[in-house]
Assembly symmetry: none
């Protein structure tokens, strides 16, 4: 049973609503009798009735006198709500506003509205968002998975979406536990391969890589880093790789670089997981009196506004942002039109392009 939440009858109502939304209680199915529920949950029949009355008024259940209480099929004829759910890790930060902008442009052109949620890249929050959005009358969903490399406890919510036949598409990553789902990815490995290849081409040999450990993007960018080193005939040195997690993203990378410098490690260049990290590294290097790009070259990833406005213009890899959002929306619109969408998952992989600005220099 859910909740520390409020009243006994609300707790029971929440529990039953959850069972219905998750598909444990299915449309047309009879729920246990009031007396059975009262005994099972050790509450009076009166309280059980109150809980049931809540769900009846919400339209989840229908009571039949002398017979029992039944789960109602809430989606006859699919009343078109015109709502699409959008769940991202963040709303206001970094490149996310522009991705959302791309999604909104396409959807609003087609008469849809966005219901916006964000998870803060926290799986618990993701669960809350998914649960909440299941209670809304949405026609489809665009999701950026949370910490997508790890095992997810939220798979059941996606399965519930499947059982309600609500199409959804992942961006930036996907859950490997789910098969045959549509997604749009960046070719993160290729993007980082190009950035590191560029650094190697400039004559750099000691190339530090900084990567995020708890999402697919980090893993793939690391792969591209390793492959580029190999193809350039440079040795892969684990000590030249810095891993960070969502929780320590604001401190770990700069601290690790500082430690490297202070312990006398030789560094020619630093390839960063993204522009946010790169900008922090630029600041750290500045504080240490190291000039970019004269002493050390730095690359970012995403081509965000940070790369446009930082004091040293950041050489970076261009994330398609609006284009990715718009594409996700377009594919979702296709899925909405096609009843067989479950059988035809769409897998798009966008190739990011290296954007050379001013943070790298020939050695």
């Amino acid at each position: 049973m859910d909740s520390q939440n409020q009243t006994k009858y609300n707790a029971l109502a929440d529990f039953l609503r959850e069972e219905i939304l998750m598909g444990s209680i299915r449309p047309g199915e009879k729920i246990p009798s009031e007396n059975e529920l009262a005994e099972k949950f050790s509450m009076s029949r009166h309280t059980v009735r109150k809980a049931i009355s809540v769900l009846v008024s919400e339209g989840y259940l229908a009571a039949r006198h002398g017979q029992g209480t039944y789960c109602v099929d809430r989606r006859p004829g699919r009343a078109r709500s015109g709502n699409i759910g959008v769940i991202t890790t963040y709303i206001s930060e970094y490149i996310f506003p522009r991705i959302i902008q791309g999604i909104d442009r396409v959807l609003s052109e087609n008469g849809y509205s966005i219901i916006l949620k964000n998870t803060g890249n926290d799986t618990g929050m993701e669960a809350v968002c998914l649960k909440d959005i299941l209670t809304k009358n949405i026609e489809g969903l665009i999701v950026e998975p949370t910490k997508s490399v790890l095992y997810s406890n939220n798979i059941r919510y996606y399965q519930a979406l499947d059982s309600h036949r609500i199409p959804y598409i992942f961006i930036h990553g996907y859950y490997q536990q789910l098969e045959n789902k549509s997604y749009i990815l960046l070719d993160d490995a290729k993007g980082m391969y190009d950035a590191v290849g560029y650094l190697a081409g400039l004559g750099h040999r000691k190339i530090v890589g900084i990567f995020k450990a708890d999402d697919i993007q980090g893993i793939n960018r690391h792969k591209g880093y390793a492959k580029a080193l190999n193809d350039a005939g440079l040795a892969y040195d684990p000590d030249n790789v810095i891993w960070f997690h969502t929780e320590d993203r604001e401190t770990k990378p700069s601290q690790a670089v500082r430690h490297m410098i202070e312990t006398g490690r030789e560094i020619d260049a630093i390839a960063c997981y993204n522009d946010q990290v790169a900008v922090r590294i630029l600041k750290q290097l500045y504080d240490l009196g190291i000039r970019v790009p004269h002493d050390i070259s730095v690359t970012g990833f995403d081509d965000s506004f940070l790369s446009e406005n930082s004091p040293v213009e950041l050489t970076t890899v261009a994330h398609p942002k609006e284009k990715l959002g718009a594409l996700a929306a377009q594919i979702l619109l296709q899925m909405l039109k096609d009843d067989d969408y479950l059988k035809k998952p769409v897998h798009e992989i966008l190739i990011p392009k290296l954007v050379v600005k001013g943070s790298c220099m020939k050695r």
Copy 2:
């Protein structure tokens, strides 16, 4: 009492509903307490409660804990949707993501979801957004008005919201055609007054002002500019003021400044409508070979990420962003709880603070 009709509680419910529909019990009026009704109609309090609960779920009555049960004039059958509409001029640009973030934080903490729309500061788009959102089952609305200084053709949509008793609150501006509406404003005049006063205090005399002509914010910032000049004993010269509109916002300001410079006008400082304009001016001055702040001082407005990341750190006036969004959401939540919200409009005026960075210098 009506009846022959079924149950005791239904008979009472019918009676009360009739009283409401016939006007004997009027909107806002308090009905007798449960105990009084029980005695009057010789039934148990429990039965009275059942009757009242029917009318509450039909939307005729609203119970207020510790106070009484009141007649409501909302349309019957309104289920709680948990959705709040948010209409802003832009989604992804500038300070809007952070305002939306503030709104979202408060609303999602309180179990609401956001339906997001943007107008591109176009009144036609605003009409589309409002029309669309009226068809959704929203409980409340947060709106940033479009070109709010001009006469609006969309007033009828707001009146429709009133007639549906859907509360709404304006941010950044409001329509003067509508009376007694809640809004949150920045004290734009005070913010610009402080910025221009600061420039005057640094010894600048020829202070150019650049303002947006088609919204209240622009008008008010201009007022603060004029007052600051006056209070500093400087003459107000209309030729030192540049007005632009939404449509030419990306070109007019820089062109006008360039024209001033090229025609030999003397300029000590430029006070800009906002950071976006200021950054364009910085670029224009750079292209003309004029150094900031050595040759000309420049101020912005809003303290956006642009002011943090531009090559010359921009002295600006701090917009509360998240705080403003969160406050709008909190006030709306209050309005949702209070049936009398129409009679108690909330008018909040936030005071922005000057943030001195590096784009101004003593003359």
